[in-house]
Symmetry: C2
Subunit: 135 residues, 2 copies
């Protein structure tokens, strides 16, 4: 899409997993919690400013990603959020949370703790994503 | 709806503004930032577990509320989130944010700063809500 380029901060912090219907699918490179990000390919910065059709496509992707996280990780709660105070490019966080994780019940945004994925961990996640979401 | 009762913590922290199509509409009693909450009348705790029809109704309410906040407050960004780590009852925050507000660019969740609305402020907001969203 003309005018669309993945924000440099998202590109730096995340691994690009692939393209869904309307969004690029990213994985935050932080193995402390399963943290995915949908970046709709649009120059709008608010969900409310998307067309009804694009909202429906985005909602469908949030549903698919939510199901994927519930299926593949030991989590008890999903945190789904469009914030964008630092990176204005529209992006939706879908994070699997659990009372055993590093900052429960606090939100993950604004926390500094990070552990990059190992190659093996990443291989496992990308394999599951390919088989279940990108096929 | 049988089995639905507004969570006691939400009831304590918020002002109930009224009922929309699928959700109760709440106002966080914190005048530092325009912070509304939609509580779908359901016992599900995740958006992904709502029926497609209920998801569509909720999305429509998020759109209406987003438009209301953009129209009635000096804000530059919307923060929209379903978290639920502390209060598991499904509720969606829609918060108007601005670089001039008290904790920009941090998220509002987990911050302790509060200022209760004055009667006059509350009267103004409830009047606008009644005229624009509940009519």
């Amino acid at each position: 899409m003309a005018g669309f380029e993945l924000d440099s901060r998202l590109a730096r912090d995340c691994i690009v997993l692939g393209r869904l219907d309307i969004s690029q699918l990213l994985l935050m490179n932080n193995a402390l919690v399963p943290w995915f990000i949908l970046v709709p390919v649009t120059t709008e910065t608010e969900i409310v400013d998307l067309s009804a059709q694009d909202q429906a496509r985005l909602l469908q992707e949030i549903n698919l990603l939510s199901g994927f996280i519930k299926e593949n990780f030991n989590i008890t709660k999903l945190n789904t959020a469009a914030i964008g105070n630092v990176v204005s490019q529209l992006h939706i966080h879908v994070v699997g949370r659990d009372p055993a994780d590093y900052c429960w019940p606090d939100v993950v945004w604004g926390r500094q703790e990070r552990r990059a994925y190992s190659d093996e961990e990443l291989h496992k996640i990308t394999g599951a994503i390919k088989a279940q979401l990108l096929s």
